[in-house]
């Protein structure tokens, strides 16, 4: 046997694969362990045989970026090995994600808890951006939470580097509710500000406990955004009417964030506002956000170990969803909220994966080789 194959086998032998805990658009995830230490891990198995173009782009992106990134708030890729036609990513095991935590009605969030999650998200994101990596799929479900409470950015299947500012990129990224207006208008030259918008909508969702801007289609997404934040003027966002897919969707007045976020502190709203600025270049950067007064003002962020935790675990939920068990009877804050939670469970995962497939397909069919 070749030395290379032998080394691969040695790596493979370090890890035990236990039961299946979930399934994503292109992979099956197992719980596993490191034989030597008993350390719990997640093994993400990607079938390669099913792709006629070999190793699939999502897998390649995930491996490429996670191999380089080491940060407390970015999921750690411990190892990679192949077995027959599968690629296996060994990841640190993470118990839950922010989506589950937000949805868990038995949990109460203190302002300090939200501040802690936001600080960890911005720290992880600042590190990605410092490394010239755009995530392009930030949403509560991709912010995983370890048993000790640390939040980690995960799922780099749509990530890319952005060292070259003049590069054309695909606008078919980021799950709709978290997608910024410049992408909805078809902008092909964008930067780290797209991730910041997503973080802004996640911040709002943490305060509201329901998705902040749940559009039902790409067109409706723009309307939903403008209804919440007011239709941008040329002064707010110079040149936006010249973007490739610009389309007027109606005039909506600006309403102060305060009207909806009644309990938020002034600092919190100021930061939220800066994440949701229409003009991408004026939007706050991850680094600036870390120096925002919100993070230094009282109350201090909750220590990760003291953050609210889900009682049900990721694995339990994942299997439940596979069975099609949707909790129809959970008691939500109101009809609207309940409704959108249902929609989220019933239709959004589906739509998500469709959007992702489109993004992946685009990678192979577009005229210019850049995405």
């Amino acid at each position: 046997m070749d030395a290379v194959e032998k080394a691969n086998l040695e790596r493979q032998k370090r890890w035990a694969k236990d039961q299946k805990v979930g399934e994503g658009a292109y992979a099956v995830v197992y719980r596993g362990r490191e034989f030597a230490t008993g350390r719990k891990v997640a093994i993400k198995k990607i079938k390669v045989g099913q792709f006629k173009d070999g190793l699939d782009m999502s897998a390649i992106r995930e491996v490429k970026y996670l191999r380089e990134l080491r940060h407390q708030n970015v999921i750690e890729l411990l190892d990679v090995f192949s077995s027959k036609t599968n690629l296996n990513l060994v990841l640190e095991f993470l118990d839950s994600d922010l989506e589950m935590i937000i949805k868990d009605r038995s949990l109460v969030f203190l302002p300090a808890d939200i501040k802690s999650w936001m600080a960890m998200t911005f720290r992880g994101l600042e590190f990605c951006h410092r490394n010239f990596i755009l995530h392009r799929d930030l949403k509560p479900n991709n912010l995983l939470v370890a048993s000790d409470g640390h939040l980690k950015i995960a799922d780099f299947g749509l990530a890319r580097d952005f060292a070259d500012p003049g590069y054309k990129m695909t606008c078919q990224v980021i799950t709709r509710w978290y997608r910024p207006p410049e992408l909805l208008f078809g902008s092909r030259y964008y930067g780290s500000a797209v991730d910041i918008w997503s973080v802004g909508t996640i911040f709002a969702e943490l305060m509201l406990r329901i998705p902040y801007l749940p559009g039902e289609s790409d067109m409706d997404q723009l309307k939903t955004i403008f209804r919440a934040l007011g239709t941008p003027t040329e002064e707010d966002w110079p040149g936006h009417t010249k973007l490739p897919d610009y389309i007027p969707v109606g005039q909506f007045p600006k309403t102060p964030l305060r009207d909806l976020f009644t309990a938020a502190s002034a600092d919190a709203l100021n930061l939220l506002n800066k994440c949701l600025i229409y003009e991408p270049r004026k939007r706050i950067s991850a680094k600036e956000a870390l120096f925002h007064p919100y993070f230094t003002a009282l109350p201090y962020p909750t220590h990760p170990s003291k953050l609210p935790k889900c009682t049900t675990h990721l694995s339990a939920r994942a299997l439940e969803e596979v069975d099609g068990n949707v909790e129809m009877n959970s008691t939500g804050p109101g009809v609207k909220a309940n409704n959108s939670r249902l929609k989220r469970k019933l239709s959004s995962p589906d739509e998500d994966s469709k959007a992702r497939l489109i993004a992946r397909r685009l990678d192979f069919t577009k005229q210019t080789p850049h995405s």
């Binding site: 691969n8 192949s82 580097d161």
Partner: protein
């Protein structure tokens, strides 16, 4: 080994600390001595294995074979570096793809030998992989139909092997990027030529020539870029270094003397080795390679079939073992009816069937 620490950062943003945490910095830099040691070891062990296989097939047969030397292997790889450049021209792939594929090819042959894996197919796979890892994918069909005598399987069969050989470390830091950073910096240097384009183009040609050498396996992208700039416009290069030096933290900065020495070494490496090999010489090597290639790697050969049969036997034994374990488990549950029988079967994860 890493006595030569990185040159000043190549762009306005502080890139150096990020570079130092990269897999390239940590795992893919060697001293020239380490490189030649590594290659000799690979060559020697490949020769031993192939000799053994040949002897098993026909005693005495290996004595007449003349195996490739390290230098000859290297020459062949170098030829295929130039083929990557040709193909990238044909497909109009961006520079990033070309540079990445070349790096992959070189790294591959720090883990494998030419006698086991002919660079032609490895090159095709490395290039296809590079289109994906740099986010410039094209369909395999479009790729192979434009390359004569190439089937999709020629590319895909080796994809895992290449990815494994790279340690699944796909990100590469390139000297052409570092060079671009320097050119941008130059606009802030007082008495610099206003038109930087000719300097850039000439320096870029030297960067490209450096891809035919071992430079990237020894030096940092900025060091190589600086050497290329220095070959193109020595005064501009030294001005650039001067303008950079004071702002660098002294701890990891090369003293300007050391940096100067490093740059001179790279310059002479580019001048002496940065050109394509003579086709005649390579043709001779390739002819001999046909005679000393590892027969286990030649589809259809006796040794290949023997190896496959051996692997199949092992897999069969494993399947039998699994089956008998399952049936034993069922028997164990048997005296009490069927409830217990279901348990072990239910635990079989069908998704996992194809796995080992």
């Amino acid at each position: 080994m890493l006595t030569v620490e990185p040159a000043p950062s190549a762009s306005p943003t502080p890139k150096r600390p990020i570079y130092e945490s990269s897999t390239q910095f940590r795992n893919w830099r060697f001293s020239p001595e380490q490189l030649s040691q590594l290659r000799s070891t690979l060559n020697a062990s490949a020769v031993a294995v192939i000799r053994n296989t040949l002897e098993n097939e026909k005693p005495g047969s290996s004595s007449v074979v003349s195996f490739l030397t390290v230098e000859e292997e290297h020459l062949l790889v170098k030829l295929y570096v130039t083929k990557i450049t040709q193909l990238c021209g044909l497909f109009r792939f961006p520079e990033e793809v070309e540079a990445t594929a070349i790096t992959y090819l070189k790294r591959f042959y720090l883990k494998n030998t030419v006698m086991d894996w002919h660079p032609k197919n490895v090159m095709l796979t490395a290039l296809f992989l590079a289109t994906k890892t740099t986010n410039n994918p094209i369909s395999l069909e479009a790729y192979t139909t434009h390359i004569p005598k190439t089937a999709p399987s020629d590319v895909l069969d080796l994809e895992f092997l290449v990815a494994q050989s790279l340690g699944f470390e796909f990100a590469v830091w390139h000297s052409h990027r570092a060079l671009w950073g320097m050119i941008l910096d130059m606009q802030n240097i007082p008495d610099c030529p206003s038109d930087t384009k000719p300097i850039y183009e000439s320096a870029l040609a030297h960067v490209r020539a450096s891809r035919l050498t071992d430079a990237e396996l020894v030096y940092t992208p900025s060091q190589i870029a600086l050497a290329a700039l220095s070959l193109a416009a020595p005064e501009v290069a030294s001005q650039w270094s001067l303008s950079k030096s004071p702002s660098e933290p002294s701890s990891s900065l090369l003293s300007s003397e050391t940096l100067h020495a490093v740059v001179e070494t790279i310059k002479s490496l580019i001048t002496s080795a940065g050109h394509p090999p003579h086709v005649e010489a390579v043709r001779e090597v390739d002819r001999r390679l046909k005679l000393c290639k590892n027969p286990e790697k030649i589809v259809g050969s006796h040794a290949y079939l023997a190896k496959k049969a051996e692997e199949e036997k092992k897999a069969e034994a494993k399947r039998n073992k699994k089956a008998s374990e399952t049936s034993q488990a069922m028997k164990d549950g048997d005296p009490f009816g069927n409830e217990l029988i279901k348990a072990p079967i239910g635990l079989v994860d069908y998704d996992d069937e194809d796995d080992d």
